[in-house]
Amino acid sequence: MSQLRDAAAVSGIGETQYLRGTDKTPLRLTLEASLAAIDDAGLTPKAIDGIVAYASGGVVAEDLLTAFGSEDFLFSATTPLGGASAAAALQCAAMAVATGVATHVLIPLGRAGYSGTRINRRVGQMRQFDVVSQFEAPVGANAPAQYYAPMARRHMELYGTTSEQFGEVAVTMRRHAALNPNALMRKSMSLEDHQASRMIADPFRLFDCCLESDGGAAVVVSAAERARDMPRRPVYLSGMGVGHPDSPSAITQRPDITTLGLAKAAPRAFAMAGVTPDDIDVAQLYDCFTYTVLCQLEDLGYCPKGEGGAFVEGGRLGLDGDLPTNTHGGLLSQAHVAGLNHVVELVRQLRGEAEGRQVEDAEIGLVTGYGDLGDGSLAIMRR
């Protein structure tokens, strides 16, 4: 059995209000969310002695050290996996507190994704996308929608996946967002609304694409035996894994563009936790696009490759379905905090604090991350 299974727990969570339009800087949003998470953990900022800062954001560990007036951080790291960073940071933090290198590790993430630098600008500045910047951007592939659309198109052509199945994901996430006071998009959406939304990068329509938003989220990770003496019910980190796709430099260079790094991360995390996909009561899946959700369901092992479209039909991802998914509304309808909002929501569900959208008797859940055009991460938690 892995030494890391249940050796660490999430002891505090925090979020800002999510917005589209703010004067606040990413640092300010990071600090607001961090203070909320530290307070939730029953700690003061100076008790934080480790940090996993967001590698793709503008905020570094030194900013928090300065702001907290702390003497030092005993542990400082980043997990450079784009949208997979948040779930990967849980693995990193768990290792730090389980080994005694640090006591309380903060994972903060604040971004002005709407009011500050937009994603298509950031992609062009990232070293890991050099192949894309040199060979694909000059011919008109300039934003994530255009990089991911061919994955979805190939899936549709090979397996008969339909736009209506993508719509099923969008409509379900929106229904969940309507139950969440801190979600940006709460107006009801029908499958007809999804089908009528304008085409962005075929097969992706507007409602297949996630939001760009402003806000921050943060969590505190502590050693399990310490978390049991802290004010909140501990949510244990049972299994964690990360994985990169074959040929991570560009989606186009992969042997199989319909399989993500998560396909490698999933067996590692399930084995560490000692559970199977059937044991999961609630799932928070990184949903930069609707297609990404059904592809990850395949890579997690919920169904064979090609059957993700059929899997999401019939309300299976709804609160009353077999696998309630993105109960906060996800990146599609809550907000885009690079998936740390998914981590916060999973903890809330497993604590039993998801008012109005609580999955009954949720004991075990999972959260995925997906970023940098294919990196995957997975954390399995239990109460």
Binding site: N120, F135, E136, A137, P138, V139, G140, A141, N142, A143, A145, Q146, A149, P150, M151, R153, R154, E157, L158, R198, M199, I200, A201, D202, P203, F204, S247, T252, Q253, I257
Partner: protein, 92 residues
């Protein structure tokens, strides 16, 4: 570096420009102002005979709709006196 044998040696050779469609997307929204006047445009991902994949626009005169495995060939398009870009056309 070659990911199979880790050789650092490399050489140029001329590719035939022939390949088959691996996937595609039709861009209706221009994410860069340089492409505002050309939407909608189709970007094809092509398995080149040379053994790599390449992305380029599909010439507007090409046959539609596309299908996986459809044969295409690369050509060069003079966008202006100073700019030449690759594009594919269908080649049944």
């Amino acid at each position: 570096m070659c990911a199979s044998c880790h050789s650092l040696e490399a050489e140029w050779f001329e590719a035939t420009g022939h390949g088959t469609v691996h996937s595609w997307t039709v861009s209706h929204h221009a994410f860069h102002r340089g492409f505002k006047d050309t939407t909608p445009y189709t970007l094809v991902t092509v398995d080149l005979e040379a053994g790599v994949r390449m992305v380029a626009p599909l010439a507007s005169s090409s046959e539609q709709p596309l299908r996986l495995g459809a044969p295409v060939v690369l050509e060069y398009h003079d966008v202006s006196n100073e700019l030449t870009l690759p594009r594919f056309r269908t080649h049944e």
